[in-house]
């Protein structure tokens, strides 16, 4: 089937098998391998992208369903080499280790911050509960999103909470 859509601001037309998943279309046909696959049941969220501004798990959406849509993947976030505040937050606050869940996690955070400028910690934790991370225990992901939220409000981000010093008794 023929589809036309916009990916990261670029017009794309393609002929795809009806059963092709959006995530495979992005990764294999479009070469956008930043969107990852961690499961095939919408649970892990590694494949999260923005479809018309809303976060969607691209492993359970067919490419043909994206006909006419505007899609943003993690590759489309940075602006001329300038990292998006969420990307910067993940870097500054050690919000990633292996980096595999990171693109999906970042897209979910971007989706959250589009809707809420000042999410509480609880709101952040619930907003990303559809994105699984096995490395970080989420602690620093929450800090990274708090950092980005502050940045996007034009405020000074809170300082990091790791300690340089040991405790002696």
């Amino acid at each position: 089937m023929k589809i036309s859509l916009t990916i990261n601001g670029r017009e794309v037309s393609a002929d795809v098998e009806p059963r092709t998943l959006l995530v495979h279309f992005l990764r294999e046909d479009q070469g956008l391998t930043g969107t990852h696959i961690g499961c095939e049941t919408s649970y892990c969220g590694a494949c999260t992208v923005l479809v018309d501004g809303k976060t969607v798990k691209s492993c359970t959406m067919f490419a043909v369903q994206a006909d006419g849509a505007s899609i943003t993947t993690v590759e489309g976030l940075a602006d001329n080499g300038q990292l998006h505040p969420v990307q910067e937050g993940f870097w500054e606050r050690h919000g990633l280790q292996c980096g595999y869940c990171t693109p999906g996690m970042i897209m979910s955070a971007v989706g959250l911050l589009q809707e809420k400028q000042s999410p509480s910690e609880d709101e952040i934790r619930h907003a990303i509960e559809g994105n699984l991370c096995r490395c970080t225990g989420y602690h620093n992901i929450v800090r990274a999103i708090e950092y980005a939220a502050a940045k996007m409000r034009g405020e000074e981000p809170p300082p990091p909470d790791w300690e340089e010093e040991e405790v002696s008794v």
Binding site: R27, H36, L96, G99, Y100, W162, E166, V167
Partner: protein, 797 residues
Amino acid sequence: MTTTTSVLGGAVRRREDPALVQGRGRYVDDIKLPGMLHAAFVRSPYARARITSIDASAALAMEGVHAVYTADDVRHLGPLLAQVPVGKLRPLLADGMVNHAGEAVAMVVAESRYLAQDAVDAVVVDYEPLEAVVDLRDAASDRIKVHDDLDSNVIITWEAGPFGNEEAMAETKRKIAEAKQRDDTVVVSLDMVNQRLIPTAIEPRAVLANWMPGYERFEVYSSTQVPHALAGAIAKTFGLASNAVRVVAPEVGGGFGAKLNVYADEILVSFASKALGRPVKYTETRRESPHNTIQGRGWLGTATIVGTRDGEVLGYEIHAICDMGAYSQNFTAAIPFLGVFVGSGQYKFPTHMKLDLVHTNTMTTDAYRGAGRPEAIYYLERILDEYAAAIGMDPAEVRRKNYIPADQFPGAMAPVGFALDTGDYEKNLDAALRFFGWEDLKAERDRARAEGRYVGLGLSSYVEVCGFGPSALVDLGFSWSEYGLPSAFNGSGLVRVNPDGTATVIIGTGPSGQGHQTTWAQIVSRELGIPEDRIRVTHGDTAESPMGIGTFGSRSAAVDGAATYEAAQKVREKAARIAAHLLEAAEEDIRFENGGIHVAGSPDKSLTWEDLAKTAYQPHLLPEGLGGGLEAHSVFSPSNATWPFGTHIAMVEVDPETGDVDILRYMAMDDCGNVINPMIVNGQIHGGIAQGVGQALFEDAIYDSDGNLLTGSLVDYPLPTAADLPNFELRRTVTPSDANPLGVKGIGEAGTIASAQTIVNAVVDALRPLGVRHIDMPLRPKRVWQAIQDAQSGRNG
């Protein structure tokens, strides 16, 4: 309380991250090679069955299907190599029998991923199902044998107290038996399950093999923690020289021990690539993963403690049956032995451990974060809490009373028979109790209880063994010799100053998120003064690194880090000779500071690294006999493993109506010796704690009695989410290791080893007023609620 600094580097941002946050990281499944084919596997729906026929004709007739391989095609290559070949080794493809659900029976190779999957569905396999063995006691009884050609399902028994000394072990048993007979002692015993877990790195495993005809060599990309072992296994399997196989582990999306294995699919796609002359890729699906990638844990055991009424433990025993699954892979039979290393924890009391390792009709178990150590520490630290409750003593004080005292270090001998490096357990406990305010926490819990809330405090000490390791471990079977690698666990580090004054560091590790590019740049920058952003670190490529044991067992910094430190020192020595020659000064007066080189007391007599490096590559400008170039390689063997330790504390609240557990606070005081990058160290602890909490509250690999995995997808196997976990409050004490020149100890697994029982101890503490003594993990609401009901009706404890 005072604070001091023992940080060798600092909390600098990671070099790895800019690519990863922009989706530009390259993982195996991202790589496409010209002409690449895709593999998929036909898997058994039965846990135990005879294969009566395989008909691949319909699959082979599909356009674009290149091959369907079965055991007949690959029997000559197998079985799969294992480093500890105890028990039954895995055939590359099921050979006549299947022994666990999801076992690979045939491999399809086709033009596309979708087509390969279609062809899998077209392969017809007939099975004659047989009764499966799943229950551990049933397996140990040998009522049904998993493998007819083995004498017993019990493949080995590890016994210690101390290990390897029959006479001393008899003495230990006698002491414990005598203590139990005394009428002034208390005996506390619990049957406990340390359940099977599915490691679940978010990146499923993937491998891409490319046999290059004419070049007669393999280039293989794999999502592995052990690229050199895989290269060795492929070379050995196909009869090639080691330098005819290049394995690259690019970005690896989490490992946690599950990628510390050479897998049948890695050998099989290599075989297919060689047979077909095309690159072949295989990427696991999440549904396949629990049947294809190792699982972890799986102990069913009884822990017993005997002690006085004032808190002196006189003996501790654990007897457990440990689930190996159907086949032994890499370290399968050695994993419980890692629990033996730490079986007596931080304590001095006589300890007797007996672990029976059994085959069952389930997926293989092997190393999952902690690997044997979380299991052993769980039993010990759970039963210590029950003992403390039985004698009415503060659980922290029971631990303090039984610690190996600080004056025994370094080199204290643990009752299970191993010498520890360094330790000061009481210092760490005191730091935890004072810094986190143990007395205040207890008062807060008591106030909550008075209000009718079910709030509990849990505490656990732990000691871990990691940083493998010393060459002597070879005698215990811990090595990589089966894969043709140098038999010890040595580390490798190569430091090269390039002609432009930048540095390249090549290490033998295989990280999966631990930030080695950052940390190793810090190690080298600290020695040479070259700024970190001018140092590039590469790892996970067997063509670049002369040797490498990989990343597992919290070993990288303590072993490969130390090797790199030594290599940097050698480079520095040579650089000092060149600088002394150029600056006409004495070698001992050369200083490496502020990114350059100068003579002590004469800052104007200076060189840049670029000046020096340029000279180093022009031998005619160098002192006679020094030789050109500026690089050094070091292979380092530590004098001991490292033994980090710590104290974790959790405060939880249980809703008695629903059984829901809420973690109110989680506090950790760890001691991993000197720290290079505190940001990365904390990140490791966070992730470790999260996996232990996952075991405590959520995760469970459940097989039914027919051997069907009931929790094979993320829908049924809940990982902790951001909404399930609290913030973690971390601090540390520092007791430098004497086993390596950096004084560091491993930290990758500590959080996991410490946390599961910390949570369970807290939940049991919360419910003790209701009469609950123990609940087996995972403490999901239904199980907690049921335990409350049982306790209320007198059925628990």
